[in-house]
Subunit: 476 residues, 2 copies
């Protein structure tokens, strides 16, 4: 992001006025649109508010912007729009549409991280940079050519990657699949999106876990689905809850995350897995099994996924490269009956026309390489180490004020706060102190929960981050 140059002989406020004039001239802020507030701009540009006030005065004097008390500062229409030209009411368009905006807290988290990259990050649901197999991938990329073909890919995904996944799924997850039953997607997120948009219709009822994956909630709501919740106890969801939702609301699908559930870390028990499958096959009800974390099982032996036990063909299985290696390649996969794979591959032609070939090649090679197994081993050890650091810090800093279950895999720790503190206040105070996390309310939970993604934080920052969090908590 642009910042004024303090060494430059041009005064800061003139630099800022010039910069804003440029952005206005480029159409980033069209005639009639609202500029960011003086306070916000001052924060973004790291200057005093008075400097922004001076810059705005410059632009006002030039006729470029207009301020009206109580309604902020807008780009003037007379100068830029030259009556009788009408600029579209972009704000109305931005507020229209089918898609609900994301939960405000998630946008606030993104904003806070952009504004201050120094924050100790327990919020982003991904691996820390030092856990990604960067060296291995660099090595593979230097050894292979990636550019023999650069046209549109098969809409179902790059064939050699699907072939590599047939082996991977059989070796690591006990799932028998064929090339034709696999769809490559942009991470789990796109699998979920395609299912919600293409297999369900507005008004359909579905069941999700409570608490549940934060990016899924607005995504399901954007598709017009009615959401019903299945409480997660220490063994998973209860099959009778599924039966009663089916009876009452004719739910059309059940979304589960049985292996180190996000955010609670719960690992479904074997008995519960079987019971859930029995309920599904009794009702002819599809289960979507989201399985991004299982290979992080700290003891090295994740239980078989529902899909591997699924004798009635009830499970759509979703996997991902993001939480076991690198989220930035954006590679995930779905295993499904052929009719479903065909349908989703067809729909995706309207959405993005398939994925880039290069990252698919990289993932195919990595999964088949001798690097993969040792990488997983290192990953598991490191995650367990970070989990232990986090728990140690929490126990020493917040003993008696918190409750949690110790996760046996995954990236997340779900902590119940015994004092009842408003989400929003705790969050802002923690950000001020230099640490960021995801508040429980984002998952549809009570306000008094917090998700710490220890998998994302740097090991050497964990103690300090938890101490800052404890400071914030004590302050309130």
């Amino acid at each position: 992001m642009w910042k004024p140059d303090r060494q430059h002989k041009k005064p800061l406020y003139i630099q800022i006025a010039d910069h804003l004039a440029h952005r206005i001239g480029c159409g980033e802020f069209p005639p009639g649109s609202l500029l960011p507030s003086e306070r916000k701009l001052a924060e973004q540009l790291d200057v005093n508010r008075s400097t922004v006030i001076l810059a705005f005065a410059e632009l006002r004097a030039a006729g470029m912007i207009e301020s009206r008390t109580g309604s902020g500062t807008r780009v003037s229409t007379s100068k830029w729009g030259a009556t009788p030209k009408l600029t579209p009411n972009w704000r109305r368009y931005a507020e229209g549409g089918n898609f609900l905006p994301n939960v405000p807290f998630l946008r606030r988290i993104r904003e806070a991280l952009l504004q201050n990259p120094q924050l100790i990050d327990f919020a982003s649901g991904e691996l820390a940079a030092d856990l990604a197999p960067i060296q291995e991938i660099t090595k593979l990329m230097s050894e292979h050519q990636y550019t023999s073909y650069l046209g549109y890919d098969n809409p179902q995904g790059y064939i050699p990657l699907r072939q590599a996944l047939v082996t991977y799924l059989s070796d690591y997850r006990g799932i028998k699949a064929t090339e034709s039953s696999i769809l490559i997607t942009s991470g789990s997120q796109q699998s979920l999106h395609l299912i919600a948009q293409c297999l369900l219709a507005p008004g359909d009822a579905i069941a999700i876990e409570d608490p549940s994956y934060n990016y899924s909630l607005p995504m399901f709501q954007s598709a017009g689905l009615r959401l019903f919740r299945l409480p997660v106890d220490e063994h998973g969801v209860q099959p009778d809850d599924i039966r009663s939702l089916y009876k009452k609301h004719r739910i059309k699908m059940v979304f589960l995350n049985p292996n180190f559930h996000n955010p609670t870390g719960t690992l479904y028990s074997e008995e519960r897995r079987q019971q859930v499958l029995d309920a599904a096959s009794e009702l002819g009800l599809p289960i979507v099994e989201d399985d991004p974390f299982s290979l992080t099982a700290y003891d090295g032996s994740p239980p078989p996924p529902l899909k591997a036990l699924d004798s009635s063909g009830s499970v759509l299985y979703i996997g991902s490269f993001s939480k076991i290696a690198a989220s930035g390649l954006r590679i995930g996969w779905m295993v499904a009956p052929h009719s479903i794979v065909e349908r989703l591959a067809d729909a995706r032609q309207q959405i993005d026309f398939g994925l880039s070939i290069i990252p698919q090649q990289v993932v195919a090679q990595f999964l088949q390489s001798a690097y993969f197994a040792p990488h997983l081993e290192r990953l598991r050890a490191q995650l367990q180490f970070k989990r232990d650091l986090t728990i140690e810090a929490l126990n020493s800093e917040l003993s008696g004020l918190i409750e949690y279950a110790v996760p046996q895999g995954g990236l997340h720790l779900w902590v119940k706060l015994l004092p009842d503190i408003p989400d929003n206040k705790l969050f802002e105070e923690a950000v001020k102190k230099g640490v960021i996390f995801v508040p429980g309310s984002v998952y549809g939970s009570d306000a008094s929960f917090v998700r710490f993604t220890y998998g994302r934080a740097k090991a050497e920052e964990i103690q300090e981050g938890i101490a800052k969090f404890a400071d914030a908590l004590r302050e309130l």
Copy 2:
């Protein structure tokens, strides 16, 4: 795709039965689902229909499948589903959802190309493999590291690519943009999808060109939009048509492709550009300008896009790497007011959680490299050469039976057939002869048009391809 091994001592029908049993066991064809027909399987596997009949008999004898006259062959539920287990009715799910399937002809084209890769391809709307800058990209990839960061990308797109595009847009398209006013997308397709889904609501009316881009039609319909058509004459659409659609239907947006329009090849005249912009600013109506082809202008000087002339801030501009370099990297961009970019970047977190970083790095480097300008020059010369070959072949083979305008840029030739021949018959006959194209009906046009994408065909095959097409035409 799997084919039986003719050298193997196991009889073909047993190989096929084993293969199908494996696919059934893997859940690709769940209990109760329909298997492909004997005729279709025989075609796919390149065997006689009688071989497939024998293979089905094997599976039937093993209780794996059931055939009922008139309703095809299904995977048996008693063997695989073991009553009282119920498999979800996957077919019903596949037929549900918001998303309309693509035009059947587009699916037929995809299928035909998969079945016979030897077809002379005038159908796929992309560059031929030999026009992509494969060597240059290979060289760049060997010179740079791509893996310094492999976490989630900024939802608006990779910052260095947005910076490279600011320069590219200014140098090549006369568009002043800033980093914050650019959104990186998976080709133009995703820009169009995001606009349709996030800025418009079901029931909204929009205007599109007639004929119009083939993948847009179902995509707009899937978003529940009402489509109205603006006829394209040799200079573009008529501004008064826009005004009258606005008056009658309160259209909310106009989608245009003013530079070497797909499929007609039309280049909007300067006067028409200005008139269209005037109509938009008079009505406060947004124009979406899709501009994938302009840099292919054979004379090397494409006219300025609407966006460069847009003094009222009415234009959302869409560009793409696909038609000027390589579609398989899946990189496109949108230039829009900040409020729109922010909205779409937020929504995309629900759809795919951003793009892979690696192809964005590759494109940023290519656009800034010394390879880019010479690549464009070569591309233009080659496309013009292929256009000339196509026209020459058409004139010698079909003189008097066709009409067309000579395109001055782009990849496509839009040909009117004077004899009135049903689309479907001509298409199937041509495929039989070994050549494939897109029939005009796909673009919502009269049946008697054909789009030849000479940019996709190999130069040495053009004469032969057109001759095969002429054969097919004469046969009917």
